[in-house]
Amino acid sequence: VKLPEVAGLFLAFLARLITGAQGHWHGCPPKAEQRIYFANHQSHFDWVLIWAALPHELRAVTRPIAARDYWTATPLRHWITREIFNSVYVSRQRSDDEDPLEPLMDALRSGDSLVIFPEGTRGNKPEPAQFKAGLYHLAEAFAGVPLIPCWIANVQRVMPKGEVVPVPILCSVTFGAPLALEGGEDKRAFLARARAAVLALREVA
C-alpha cells in the first residue's frame, strides 16, 4: 500500500464524512468503461465530491482537469493533483501553437475517463452558466465515448466562496443518462442540450 493510495482513501472518507457524497445513478449504472462526466461547477469541492461518489474501482481511471499554473505552484499541490488524482494539467494561458484541449485528447486516447466542468468557472447562481465549446470538441473527436451529465446538489452551502473550512452538509451527485453528439447537430444546439440534461437532473435528484 502506497502513500497516495492511503491519502486518497482518507480524502474520500473525509468527503463522505462531511457531505455524505452520495452518488445517485439515474440514467446509467456505475460501470468500468471510458466515459466523460460533465457537471455543474459551484465550488472547489465539486471534483472531490464526484470522485468520492464514484465506486472505488472507477476512481483510479477517472481523472480531473487541473490548471497547471495553480496546481503545480507548490510541491504539495503538485503532489496531490499528480499522485492522488492523476490530474490532466491544462494551461490557462493561450499560446498560438498549442491546442488547450490537447492534454484532454491525450488522456482520452489512452483510455482514461474524464470529469469536466463545461461552465469553465465556478458559478454562484442556482442555474449553471452557458457551456463552453470544449465539451463539443471532445464529443466530436471521441464519438464513441458516452457523455454522462451530472448534477451536484447543495455543495455551495458546504464551502461558499472565500471560506476555507467546509461545513458538514449532505450533498449528492446525480448521474444521468448518457448523451452523444447527433449527426449534423451544430455546436450551439449540442451545448444547449448538454446543459439542459444537467439541469434536468436537478428535478430527479
Partner: protein
Amino acid sequence: MGSLRALGVTQQVALLFVVLFGLLMLVTIVSISRSLRDRTPAQQELWQGYLRDLRAAWIAAVLFWIAWIAGAIVSTLLFAIVSFVALREFVTLTHTVRGDHRALLLAFFVVLPLQYLIVATEFFDLFTVFIPVYVFLAIPVLSAFGNDPKRFLERTAKIQWGVMVCVYGMSHAPALLLLDLPRYEGRGAFLVLYLVLVVATAQIAQEVASRRLRRRPVARAISRTFSWRAWAIGAVSAALVGALLYWATPFKPIPALVMGLIAGGSGTFGAFVMQALKRDAGVHTWGGRMSVTGAVGLLDRVAGLCFAAPVFFHSVRWYFGF
C-alpha cells in the same frame, strides 16, 4: 425477578443481550417468512419502510453491544458520532445561508466535541450550562459577524435549536454512563440501554397502535397518526417494559415503571415534534427518497432519544437526590 437482581453485572448484561438479539432474530425470521407475500404497491412501500426500520434496529443493537464491550469512553465517542450525523442531517434540511457559515463551524467543530469531552471528563457543572448558556450567546455573535441581517433571528434560532436537540439532548445519553449512583457503580451502561429500549418500545407501540386504532389525530396538519390514545399506549408500553427491566436498574419496580413512562412519553413527543419540522422542510421523512440530499434518515430514529435523554437524566438525578 428478584433472583435476576442478585446476578453479577456481566451475567445481567449477557442476559439482556441474549434477550435483545433473540427478539431481533425472532422478528427477522418471521419477516423473512412473510417477505414473499403478494402486496399492493402501497403495502409494498410500508413493507420496505418496515424492513429499513428492522435493519436500523439490528445496527443499533450491534452498536450497543460494541459500546458495552469497549467501555464508557468508546460509547461516548459513538454517541458523539451519532450526534454529528444527526446535526449534519438537521442542518442540511434547514436552509442555512452564507452568513451562518462560521456559526455552523462553531457548532460542528467546537461545540459538539467540547460537549462530549465534558461528558467524558464528568464535568457535570459545566455539562448542563455549556450549551444553553454559553453557546446560546456565542452563536448569534458569530452569525452577526457574517454581515447578513436578513432573517437573522430565524436563522440563529434554527442553529440553536439544532444544537440543543442533536448535541445537548443526545449527550445526556452517554452522561448516564458516568453518573455515580449509590450501589450502582460501573453499571451506567444498563441505564443507557434501559433508556433506549424504553424509548424504542414507546415509538413502536405508538406506531402500531395508531395504525390499528385510527383515532382522530390531535394535529392533522402535522401528523395524521398522532392521537392521544396512541401516545398513551406508547407511554404505557414503555412503562411496562421499564418495569420488566427493573432488576437491571437502580430503581425499585414502581419507580422503574414511572421512569419508563416518563422517558417513553417524552420520546414520542420528540418524534412528534420532528414530524412538524419535516412538514415545514417539505420532506416526508428526513431520509426519504424524495429529499434532494440523500440524507440517511438517522434524525428520524434518534429524535425520540434526543428528547427523552435529558428528561430521563434529570429524573434519575432527582430520584437519587443530587
